[in-house]
């Protein structure tokens, strides 16, 4: 009898498992999944100064990319963001399979990558340059014949530099690292003569090093790296959420809605009364854009928090493509109407 019960139990378990596995899940938008979960799972690099790095004191992930994650959470109105550190090995599978909802991970938007996943609007325009030690005589790509080059593996930088070297018929040795800080540490230790990746990251590493004067960023930008959020292919409802979060932060900067203003009901109502565009921004989609601004501030505030003139990882914004389109840059919004 006991044997029979055990056997029956095993069969029921196995059938149940099979049923669970085969259970047809109705296609749901990520938006519903995130809302039901009450939490946004956001992929970041977690080791790039300025963009995303842990703050051991508060136990929080901070940075430009991390703030965009919080803004998306504000937009869909979930209270909580879980940061997942994605490596170059895991970011694509993670997005593909949906174990992260969105990744802000200094990912360059390219046509081949777009086959697999979708990209949102560009949050930062970057370009690849070279970082060398100050005593180095390297001043640009043309000096790199025979150089030992450190790169972060699996990035567009890795291919760009290979292309540039081959085009010049240079001999070179490529040394790859799983993370960007390791590549920088190798440059500092003298394992290689140059570390190359997006200029913003190079600036960040140089600025936060214990001795910034030991390094210099040289050469012209030799690639175009528009960095954009990535998410699953063919989920246009979720794409709308991520895209309009970015647009919302940008529009908020155009309209002069800062975090302080967004959080202050009186000033908001004064603004909405004066400006119909602000009124739309504050009311459309249940005020989702405004919620995003409330959680992290507008695009300019986020930028200044991590790359502004007062922080160590400062990157001059004026004159770069990262100023608003209305001021001649490339950071553009779409109308909230």
């Amino acid at each position: 009898m006991r044997k029979f019960v055990g056997f029956a139990l095993a069969v029921v378990l196995a059938v149940g498992l099979a049923a669970y596995v085969t259970q047809a899940q109705p296609p749901r938008s990520r938006q519903d999944i995130v809302r039901a979960r009450g939490q946004l799972i956001c992929g970041v690099d977690g080791g790039t100064p300025g963009f995303s790095f842990p703050d051991p004191a508060s136990g929080r992930m901070v940075g430009f990319d991390a703030d965009f994650c919080r803004a998306v959470a504000g937009f869909v109105d979930v209270p909580d963001v879980e940061f997942v550190r994605v490596t170059s090995a895991t970011r694509i599978p993670a997005v593909l399979a949906g174990s992260i909802d969105v990744a802000f991970r200094t990912a360059t938007h390219t046509i081949t990558r777009d086959d697999q996943i979708d990209f949102g609007p560009v949050t930062f325009f970057d370009g690849q340059r070279l970082l060398v030690r100050t005593d180095s005589r390297i001043n640009g790509l043309d000096d790199l014949n025979g150089a030992r080059i450190c790169v972060h593996s699996g990035t567009t930088s890795e291919r760009n530099i290979t292309d540039q070297m081959r085009q010049r018929n240079f001999r070179f040795q490529l040394i790859t690292f799983a993370t960007a800080p390791e590549a920088f540490a190798a440059l500092a230790a003298g394992r290689c003569d140059v570390f190359t990746t997006d200029a913003s990251q190079l600036t960040g590493f140089r600025a936060t090093a214990p001795n910034p004067a030991d390094f210099k960023v040289v050469g012209r930008e030799f690639s175009d790296e528009p960095l954009a959020p990535i998410y699953q292919e063919n989920d246009s409802k979720w794409a709308d959420v991520v895209d309009w979060t970015v647009y919302g932060l940008v529009l908020a900067e155009e309209l002069g809605i800062t975090q302080a203003v967004a959080r202050d009901a009186a000033r908001m109502s004064a603004l909405t009364a004066r400006d119909p565009i602000v009124k739309n921004f504050a009311e459309l989609k249940g005020g989702a854009g405004l919620r995003a601004v409330r959680s992290v501030g507008n695009y300019g505030e986020v930028y200044d928090r991590y790359f502004g003139p007062r922080v160590r990882t400062a990157i001059t914004r004026d004159g770069s493509r990262n100023i608003l389109a209305v001021k001649g840059g490339a950071i553009a919004s779409r109308p909230f109407r």
């Binding site: 085969t22 003569d193 063919n234």
Partner: protein, 339 residues
């Protein structure tokens, strides 16, 4: 004499029938689970709009590898040097060649080190004995990945970098030159970008050296224990009998104990060699372009991780099966029991 009445077992209580039915149920359940997994996977491919496409393996890789880079030209089936203009598949083959190189060198070094430590472990000298024990305990009880990080980032990269302030370490004139760029034998020292580096000769890069050293040291700790166990397993009487027949200690060891110990030692030793080969995949952590690292680069450059990881898994499986087939052959030759 009355015949013993044969008990008639009804078929539903017959063990054979039950076993047969049980197996059928098991197979049906297994098949159901597999089929269910397949359906679910297909559905999820559809839902997430994933199309497997194996054609990208023939596309141009476009990246350089950090290693000795032989590959097989897939059009002519000839051995050649890998270049960034080669295809993804050829990049992965280059990685496979590197895995084999690392494994062969690692196995040789690990065996020598393990033998030395194993003998030290059996020494009557207390200090040497304890030192060998500390070595074994230290390297067996810490993760290989951390050891590799340690060797690479904390040891090798901290070596002198060849600048005027940190001149390279040289042995025998310029015959052996050690910097944090690697170990060079018999090249000529030249100055480039303010660093002394070596041209020509035999060069072992830092990544390669760290990987081989890490694998060899880690595995040697296990090999030392196997060798110690093997020698101890040969009963003491054997040694004593040999000595009483007039053989010297060395002769007894060489002619009596070691041949017997060898038979005990070879099967587990073979497993360690297999482990070392599989463990070489941890090079992913330090960026040496062996099979998995090359595949990982292919995957993140092409964004085709499903296909690449499937190929890698099958590749390692094939490699392991070949190695264990080879080991079984050796065991059969030596008429040893399979491990």
């Amino acid at each position: 004499m009355a015949a013993i009445p044969r008990a008639r077992v009804p078929f539903w209580r017959n063990v054979r029938t039950l076993e047969f039915l049980g197996q059928i149920v098991f197979i049906v359940l297994l098949a159901g689970a597999l089929w269910g997994g397949r359906v679910a996977l297909q559905e999820s491919f559809l839902r997430q709009n994933i199309r497997l496409d194996w054609g990208f393996f023939r596309q141009t890789a476009g990246f350089e590898l950090t290693a000795l880079t032989w590959t097989i030209d897939l059009d002519t089936w000839r051995l050649k040097d890998y270049e960034p203009t080669d295809s993804h598949a050829e990049a992965m083959i280059a990685g496979l060649f590197n895995t084999i190189t690392v494994a062969l060198l690692g196995i040789a070094l690990a065996t020598i080190l393990g033998l030395l430590v194993g003998i030290g472990r059996l020494s009557r000298n207390w200090l040497l004995n304890r030192l060998a024990m500390a070595y074994v305990e230290l390297f067996r009880n810490t993760p290989l990945l951390v050891q590799l990080f340690f060797w690479y980032f904390a040891v090798m990269l901290q070596l002198p970098n060849g600048s005027p302030q940190q001149p390279p370490i040289r042995f025998f004139g310029d015959f052996i030159v050690l910097t944090n760029g690697g170990l060079a034998f018999g090249g000529t020292v030249a100055e480039r970008f303010g660093r002394l580096i070596v041209d020509g000769g035999v060069q072992l890069t830092t990544e390669f050296s760290a990987l081989v050293a890490g694998l060899a040291v880690y595995t040697s700790a296990f090999i030392a224990e196997i060798i110690r166990g093997g020698i101890l397993a040969v009963s003491r009487g054997q040694m004593e009998a040999a000595r009483s027949l007039g053989l010297t200690h060395g002769q007894a060891l060489r002619l009596i104990v070691l041949p017997q110990a060898l038979r005990i030692v070879i099967p587990p030793l073979g497993n360690q060699f297999l482990n070392l080969t599989k463990n070489s995949s941890l090079a992913l952590g330090i960026g040496y372009a062996e099979f998995l690292t090359a595949a990982n680069t292919v995957s993140s450059q092409s964004f085709r991780s499903l296909e690449t990881f499937t190929v890698v898994t099958l590749g390692y499986l094939a490699l392991s099966l070949i190695i264990s087939g080879f080991l079984n052959l050796i065991r059969a030759r030596l008429r040893l029991a399979p491990a």
